[in-house]
């Protein structure tokens, strides 16, 4: 295949991945690795490097839009980033020693988990919770824009949230994904943040976490410019278009379709990993 042909095909696939990822809120990064390894036959290490780069691009590109929507909790985000960056460094270090097919199997399992998780309803019990000692000491309690003006909320479960964030960081460094699903789980379920605050703060954190592992991938020679170029530009363009169309009504059914696609890719990844095709 010629360079131009390869570049355009990868860019087109990435565009679609970024578009669907931002429309459904699942992120484009999760489909990039299966797309590159299963469809284009790319080595999983190159694929992870390219996916990480696209994750930083979408996270940072979307942040400007998120800011208008609600308040991300900068203190919660920054404190938890200690856990995610340490996790990301650990995950990237482990990835260097794991065999490609082992990574593929882990990737498949995490994909299935994210697909399932995307169907679960988020909790919206906010406001009535009492203050938490650790969270108050860390001054994490804040306000969020409710229907009738800013409303105060208390943050809880800091240790559990911190532990879950470490896991999210490891997965991000190991698999080149944003781990947005695990991050939202930690903040929404464990720390009882309002859902909008969880998603915006998670987006804020994804870029920093991915940058930590991308640094390692780049310095180890896992990020190939010829491959990362169409992936980064494609996913970025797709996600920007998706973000503009977000208010559509078809999102729910799209989400189901996309989750099914992800689950199918996951099974294929696990199968290829187990049979040694990756």
């Amino acid at each position: 295949m010629h360079t131009l042909e390869f570049t355009l095909l990868v860019a087109l696939g990435s565009l679609l991945a970024g578009f669907l990822g931002s429309l459904t809120g699942l992120g484009g990064g999760v489909v990039i690795v299966p797309l590159l390894t299963l469809v284009f036959g790319v080595d999983i290490r190159y694929a992870i490097g390219a996916a990480l780069v696209s994750v930083i691009a979408t996270s940072s590109g979307a942040a400007a839009a998120y800011v208008r929507e609600g308040f991300s909790n900068v203190r919660v985000g920054m404190f938890l980033e200690i856990a995610t960056t340490i996790g990301a460094l650990a995950g990237a270090a482990v990835a260097l020693y794991l065999r490609a097919n082992a990574i593929a199997v882990i990737f498949g399992l995490v994909l299935i988990y994210s697909a399932v998780l995307s169907f679960r309803q988020h909790s919206s019990s906010v406001g009535a919770l009492p203050a938490d000692r650790i969270a108050s000491w860390l001054r994490m309690d804040s306000w969020y824009p409710a229907a009738n003006g800013p409303e105060k909320y208390h943050v809880r479960g800091v240790p559990l949230g911190f532990a879950l964030m470490f896991v999210a960081g490891v997965l991000s460094g190991l698999l080149g994904i944003g781990s947005g699903a695990v991050k939202v789980l930690a903040m929404d379920k464990a720390m009882k943040l309002p859902f909008k605050v969880s998603t915006t703060t998670s987006n804020f954190m994804i870029g920093v976490t991915a940058a930590a592992s991308a640094g390692i991938y780049l310095s180890r020679g896992y990020i190939d410019p010829g491959l990362a170029m169409p992936v980064m530009l494609g996913v970025l363009a797709g996600s920007l278009v998706g973000a503009r169309l977000l208010a559509g009504a078809a999102v729910k059914s799209l989400r189901i379709v996309f989750s099914v696609v992800i689950a199918a890719l996951a099974v294929e990844m696990i199968y290829s990993g187990l049979t040694g095709k990756i």
């Binding site: 996270s59 590109g61 942040a63 400007a64 998120y66 800011v67 460094l89 640094g215 020679g221 980064m232």
Partner: protein
């Protein structure tokens, strides 16, 4: 009241961060695009076989190497420079937060943010274990 975070300052911080991030991403995308065009035009036939992992050469994986390569107008070097700018964007956001917390005299979070910054710089510059 002095123990409460300053809501307005936090909001202002969010806005400036948004502009910072968008600028970084757009600059990165522009560099990657220009580098990509040069790369595709100059290398009609594939340079890398992605099926087999080889790892990038020195000039495409260290910060000084990439900068040198990009400034001699190599397509792949320019792409890597764009990707470096992209990776540096969240790092710049963290650096900005250090100053924002300094301004608010929030010493706990100045420490927290410096710790995150240290981890990021270690990954980018010092991770040659």
């Amino acid at each position: 009241m002095s123990r409460q975070p300053n809501l307005r300052a936090d909001q202002r911080m969010d806005q400036i961060m948004g502009i910072l991030l968008r600028t970084g991403v757009m600059l990165a995308a522009a560099l990657v695009f220009v580098g990509g065009v040069l790369f595709v035009v100059r290398h009609p036939l594939p340079v890398t076989n992605y099926r087999v992992f080889q790892g990038e050469p020195e000039e495409l994986r260290t910060v000084p190497g990439i900068i040198r390569n990009a400034f001699s107008w190599h397509g792949r070097g320019l792409i890597q420079l764009g990707l470096l700018v992209l990776i540096a964007t969240p790092v710049a956001r963290v650096i900005f937060s250090v100053f924002a917390f300094l301004y608010e005299k929030d010493w706990t979070y100045v420490t927290v943010t410096l710790l995150v910054l240290g981890l990021l710089l270690y990954s980018l510059l010092g991770a040659h274990i």
